[in-house]
Structure formats: C-alpha cells, structure tokens
Amino acid sequence: MIAGLYIDGTSPLHRAGAGIKILAMIALGTGVFLIPDWPVVTVILATVLAFYPLCGFGPSVIWAQVKPIFWLLSIFFAVQLWLNDWQAGLLVVTRIAAIVLFASLVTLTTKTSAMLASLERAMGPLRPLGVNPEKVSLAISMVLRFIPVIATVASEIRDAQRARGLDKSILAMVVPLIIRTLKMADDVADAIEARSFDPDETAS
C-alpha cells in the first residue's frame, strides 16, 4: 500500500485524536484571519513552530513544509511591501505559514488509518443525506488498490507508444489509458458483484 506522510512518534500530538486535531486546524485557520494583527499572528506562528521539536521533528521537517510555498510567500511579501508596508507583508506571510505549518503538523502526526477511521465516524450522521459509509470505504480501498495497477498499465502503454515512436504525444498515452481503465471498470464491477457485494443492501 502507498505509504502516508505520517512520521512515527509518541508526542501528545501523536496521541491526540484525529478529529480534535482537525477541529483545531480549522479553528486556527479561521482565527488567523479574524485577527489581522501581525504581532499576534507571529506569536501563533512561533507557537506552531514550537510544536515541531515537541513532536520530535527537526528543522529539516519544518523546511520540507515551507519549501514548496517559500517562493510564493516571498512574492506575496514583496507585493505587500510595494502596495502597503512591511507590516502588511509580515501579516500575510506569517498567517499563511502558521496555517500551512499547523495543517502539516496534523498530517505528520496522524496515521492515514486513524484519519480514515474518523472520516468513517463523521460520515455516520450523513447517512440520511444519501452518504453510504460502506460504499465510500469500498471506493477508498479501490483507489488504493488500483493506483499501482493503473500505473503499470500506463508504463506498458508508454513502452508500446515508444516502440511506435509516439513517446512525445500525451494524447497517444492518455486515450488508451482511459479506454483500458474503463474496460477494467467493467470487469471489476462484475467481480465485485460476483463476490456478493450488494450496493443496495445498506440503502443509499
């Protein structure tokens, strides 16, 4: 199975429930927008950063989270400096950094399986709205199962196209990949039904 982004540990944040961490993330995300005050947001960012060593994550882990948005943040800071002043720039940059670093912290300290379990619990009350947790969890499993299968099919097609000198054409790759995927879907659906899966049993 595909490995998640989780990094093992024993910190309080590792032990906290996935649901609570997600709620905290939403609260923090909303909070930093409600307080347009750079010193407060900077303190929040510092607090978030302090959690990293607490969870056993070094500077390299922090940098890995910041790196993808670093150039964007630099541009945002420059734009604010040009339009307004450095305080406005600092607010924008610390706000985004606080949200992203806390959200990443939730992802890094929560196992994918724990996330999925709390997702399943959250779906329960949605049943009357037509959400069927059994179908959703079957669908999730199938995505994980079929990513490696489709990736193999993709590399087979790429080899075949390369043999015909079509390796530069994305279209020559995408159309056969879709057709193979759709044919596969027919067989998979048959196989699932043949194994007694009943999509209507738990009412949708």
């Binding site: 989780y6 993808p68 734009v79 994918t112 995505v143 990513i147 489709i150 990736a151 994305i170 995408v174």
Partner: protein
C-alpha cells in the same frame, strides 16, 4: 448509484493519482511547471459526467487530505490543501462537476467547439475563479492582482484543455458513458 458507478468513481480517482506520477514539463521562457495531474478532473468530468466525475475528484481529494502523497511531486496532506494554492485543488472537484454538466448538456451533438467550450469553461474559467479568489484572500491582494499572477499558468492549462477535448471525443466514440437523461 450502482456498483459500476462506484468503480468508475474509484478508478478515475486512481487515474488522477497516476497522472501525478508523470514528470512535469517546464514551459520555455516562463519556467512554469505543467503537470499532467490537472488533466484528471477534466477527464473525469468529460468522460464520467457531472455526478460521477465530481465525486471521483472529491474521493481523490479525501485521500490527499488523509495524508497520502498523491498530488504531483509526492505532495499531500492538509498543509498543501489549505495552503496558498488550495483554491485550485478544491476547485478541481467543482471544475470536474461543471465540465460534466456541460458535456452532458451538449452530449447528443457534441462537437470539437462545444467540447472545448465545456472543458475550457469548467477547467479554466471556473477553476481560476476559485483558485484566484483563494490566493487573493490568502495574500491580501485584489482579485485582479491574483488573476494577473496566475496568467502564466494559462498556457499549460490551454494545452491540457486541448488534450482533454481530443480524449473526450475519442472516448465518446468508442466507449460512451454519458447518456443525456434530461
């Protein structure tokens, strides 16, 4: 929703993940990276229709959210999703849905022009509207400024619209899955 619909939804979510494994192309001059992954929502909407296409992208995003590195470049988790470009990522689901609605509407006499309109509107106009609005709020700049900033990426997305249109029409001939029900 029958078994086959669930399978289609799952397989297009998986397909979107696999498109993220292709190495990105870098456009000359601007240096803007173009990934194949954003073809996923276009294809899901154009081939599966609004409901199944939209749900398959929602499913893909759920798996990214729970911490699987399925976004191109091996990214994933909440950090990327609610970061600066979050509007574009969440926008994929709505984009797929809108593309699906339009393709369903045009289905019986779908032409290159109609398919381009449908995929271009859902895949560029709707997606950028959502993505730019998110950037504008996050960076505290005007919507117009965000739009100007996103402009270099339009070239890559225009290429993807063209690919999705061709794929949609080719698949429609050999494997039609949308029937105009309304």
């Amino acid at each position: 929703m029958n078994t086959k619909d669930i399978v289609y939804i799952a397989l297009f979510a998986a397909l979107t993940a696999v498109l993220g494994l292709f190495p990105p192309l870098t456009l000359p001059v601007t240096g803007v990276p173009v990934t194949a992954q954003s073809l996923g929502p276009m294809l899901a909407g154009a081939i599966l229709g609004a409901r199944r296409g939209g749900l398959s992208i929602v499913l893909f995003l759920v798996l990214v959210a729970v911490g699987l590195p399925l976004l191109s470049g091996g990214r994933g988790g909440f950090g990327v999703m609610i970061g600066v470009t979050g509007g574009f990522i969440f926008g994929w689901a709505i984009s797929a849905f809108v593309i699906g609605l339009l393709i369903e509407h045009f289905w019986n006499d779908l032409t290159v022009i109609k398919a381009t309109l449908a995929i271009g509107f859902g895949g560029i106009v709707v997606l950028y509207a959502l993505g730019n609005a998110w950037v504008a709020v996050a960076a505290d700049i005007s919507y117009w400024q965000a739009t100007v900033g996103a402009a270099p990426f339009l070239i890559g997305d225009a290429i993807k619209v063209a690919i999705a249109v061709a794929a949609c029409l080719a698949v429609r001939r050999s494997y039609p899955l949308i029937s105009k029900a309304r």
